[in-house]
């Protein structure tokens, strides 16, 4: 093969590689290096595993993981199910104005989280729109932001509302890749809509479901803005707003402890990797059945 032809792919890849190395790889390596260091201005001292040990001495570190686990359990299934539901609806060729609906569903994803959280906080006000609506039906005011249970529900609602659109577009892409003839054959065999959904759509969407679950898990682990804004940089009632991201932020920018903050970041990388590995293993097992 011509030498120049063999070099061409590398040439095309090089801008991406360069950006990847500069903006992702180097910071990752630096943060790994920092996680074993104590940083005081210009002086950087090797402290071994001290930063990681310090994390486990702090009971709130484990609490932060428990909180994100609860957030993931409370949001990811709803996000995935709603996204599939909306994707199936949007994939129906008889529905008019698909472009409009796609935009509407996707809009929350590109809306500033600060704006989203602020608007929802107005809704969650003790005398806000939601409690006023509940009052019409004789229901008492819900302590949306001052009770651990309702505080979590309040966060779940914002996270689900904000996240569904992105996954809807992913599922829609998956659905549009499904060969229409499969559905036509099923129609000839007299399959109902439910049968088609559970026996054709869901199995064919499995790779997208797996990818979406992994992405949603990683996003869930990184939850920061919504609890931080809703509870104004405090930990909220029953410390529900203390997520790993909030802990990382406070360690970085209040304590300015980059060593410990890097250790927290690497614990997140590790947990993300383990959860993704489990999800891919489970997904693969299902495929082989």
């Amino acid at each position: 093969m011509d030498k120049s032809i063999r070099k061409t792919p590398y040439l095309f890849l090089s801008p991406f590689l360069l950006l990847f190395v500069l903006t992702i790889l180097i910071p990752i390596i630096i943060s790994l290096f920092f996680s074993f260091m104590s940083i005081q201005g210009d002086s950087i001292t090797f402290v071994g595993l001290a930063n990681f040990k310090a994390l486990f001495r702090d009971p709130m570190f484990l609490q932060s993981y428990l909180n994100v686990l609860i957030i993931m359990v409370g949001t990811i299934p709803f996000i995935i199910l709603l996204a599939i539901f909306f994707a199936v609806l949007l994939n129906n060729p008889t529905i008019k104005g698909q472009g409009f609906f796609k935009t509407v569903y996707y809009l929350p994803t590109v809306t500033s989280l600060v704006a989203v959280a602020s608007v929802f906080m107005t809704f969650y006000n003790p005398m806000g729109i939601i409690n006023s609506f509940l009052h019409l039906f004789g229901a008492g005011p819900v302590p949306w932001l001052s009770d651990p249970f309702w505080g979590r529900i309040a966060m779940f609602i914002v996270i689900i509302w904000q996240g569904v659109g992105y996954y809807t577009i992913l599922f829609l892409g998956g659905l549009q890749g499904v060969d229409k003839e499969i559905y036509e054959s099923a129609d000839i065999d007299g399959a109902s809509a439910w049968v088609k959904f559970f026996h054709i759509t869901v199995p064919l969407l499995k790779p997208v479901i797996l990818l979406s679950t992994v992405l949603a898990t990683i996003n869930g682990l990184n939850t920061f803005e919504i609890p931080n804004i809703m509870y104004s940089n405090t930990y909220g009632p029953g410390s529900i707003a203390l997520t790993v991201g909030v802990n990382l932020y406070k360690t970085s920018f209040e304590m300015i402890d980059f060593g410990k903050a890097s250790a927290i970041a690497w614990s997140m990388v590790l947990v993300s990797a383990i959860l993704s590995f489990i999800q891919f293993k489970v997904g693969k097992k299902d495929e082989t059945k």
Binding site: K3, S14, L18, G41, D58, S146, G238
Partner: protein, 441 residues
């Protein structure tokens, strides 16, 4: 060989790009110790990180006066940085040894963390002689607080405002209830007044945080001369002062005279609808902008005494200062300007006129300090701030101060929900101690 060539090319590109990224602006290499003897800088564009608003408007006014007086051409190039975002904005520059802005506006609660990790990041005003020139003008509580947790206990910031806590009250509501708010001596009397107000006007006395009231708890602790964090960095969370403060908040709760807010979003609307707000003096300036319909209805006084026998210290909450980057491009010009800002009577008077509680003592005796404010029923509000400033507590701002407040908040919330104050304070204080390796009293 080909692979090596490609790798070499990539590395070379990387070095070039990284070299470009790391390119630094030239910094002012002059020694900071001779800023006052140095010739006045005639032309400079000063890079400023500050939240746009009354403080930057004031600084622009200072520049106008400065340029007029010294026939200079100093300009401000201001980047709008929210007070809560300043650390995020500065730390990447500090870590990367980048040139800092000439002037940064930093809250007193945030500076300790920066100076602890980067002690040479900002101009040391003690070693460059500026403290000698301006120190006597400033309330000692402000300088003591700034110096207590700074490297070598030196002064690094040019104080902007005092964070005195005062009591704002609705004159019309108290009048309707037949109570003279100015005569209320202590918390018990205030609570008794609150009950009458509730009965006669339906208004709440105060608004508390439903997620654990700590603002009032720390204020009442300070009245007892016990700040949340002491000079040595120990956290006062399980002691008598904390428990006494929580007991007073309990009394307020049980009196049925308080309302509750559950987020910062509904905090100030709830405050606005209450008869009393206990907050930093900074609120005075904000109230005139945010509560225009209530003009003439509010008054200010020093906070009610801790008890009938013991008036207590005046609490402190907030406050900010200006900092000059030690490696900044125009640090001499910045230092000269800030020295002018704090020593120029017209500039300090202008600060008061904008509703900020200036840190300089003599300003309160000037004409501006005696001004009457229509929003406060033509009250001379700076008399109140001066009185508060003369009896203020010294607070210590350690980097974990904000988190210590969070742990106290959790303890108060847990106590409200589960009872057993001692156990909740002990549990949360132990967790704080484990996290930061600090002693908890």
């Amino acid at each position: 060989m080909k692979k090596k060539g490609f790798l070499g090319l990539t590395i070379a590109a990387l070095v070039l790009v990284l070299g470009g990224c790391g390119k630094k602006e030239a910094s002012d290499k002059s020694s900071s110790s001779n800023f006052s003897t140095a010739a006045r800088v005639k032309n400079a564009d000063l890079k400023v990180y500050a939240p746009k608003g009354k403080n930057t408007d004031w600084l622009n006014g200072v520049v106008d006066r400065y340029n007029k007086k010294y026939d200079t051409k100093i300009n401000l190039k201001t980047t709008d940085v929210a007070p809560t975002a300043i650390t995020q904005k500065l730390t990447p520059l500090l870590v990367g040894h980048e040139v800092l802005p000439d002037i940064s506006f930093i809250q007193d609660s945030d500076i300790t963390g920066i100076l602890k990790k980067f002690p040479k990041s900002f101009e040391n005003l003690t070693s460059n002689g500026m403290e000698n020139q301006i120190g006597k003008l400033i309330y000692s509580t402000k300088t003591s607080s700034l110096k207590a947790t700074a490297p070598n206990h030196d002064l690094f910031g040019v104080p902007q405002d005092l964070g005195m806590v005062t009591m704002f009250y609705r004159h019309d509501i108290f009048e309707k209830a037949g109570i003279d708010a100015a005569k209320i001596k202590d918390w018990d009397e205030l609570i008794a007044a609150g009950k009458i107000i509730k009965r006669k006007t339906g208004k709440s006395l105060l608004a508390l945080d439903a997620n654990g009231e700590t603002s009032l708890v720390t204020i009442i602790m300070q009245q007892q001369n016990v700040p949340l964090i002491d000079k040595k960095g120990n956290v006062n969370m399980t002691g008598t002062a904390t428990k006494n403060a929580i007991k007073i908040v309990d009394k307020l709760k049980k009196s049925g005279t308080v309302s509750y807010y559950s987020s910062d979003k509904d905090r100030y609307p709830m405050f606005q609808d209450s008869a009393v707000i206990i907050e930093g003096t900074w609120l005075a300036g904000n109230m005139t902008v945010n509560y225009p319909k209530q003009s003439g209805l509010w008054r200010m006084r020093t906070i009610v005494g801790y008890s009938a026998d013991d008036q207590g210290k005046n609490p402190v909450n907030g406050g900010s200062s200006w900092y000059v980057g030690a490696n900044s491009k125009n640090k001499t010009a910045a230092l000269q300007l800030l020295k002018f800002a704090i020593t120029d009577k017209a500039s300090q008077a202008d600060l008061l006129a904008r509703g900020s509680a200036a840190a300089t003592k003599s300003t309160y005796d000037s004409k501006a300090g005696k001004a009457e404010y229509p929003f406060f029923g033509n009250q001379k509000i700076f008399d109140v701030i001066k009185q508060a400033g003369n009896n203020a507590i010294v607070v210590y701002q350690y980097p974990y101060a904000s988190d210590a407040n969070n742990y106290l908040k959790m303890a108060v919330y847990d106590y409200w929900k589960k009872g057993d104050l001692n156990a909740q304070l002990k549990k949360n204080s132990e967790q704080l101690a484990q996290k930061y390796n600090v002693k908890v009293n």
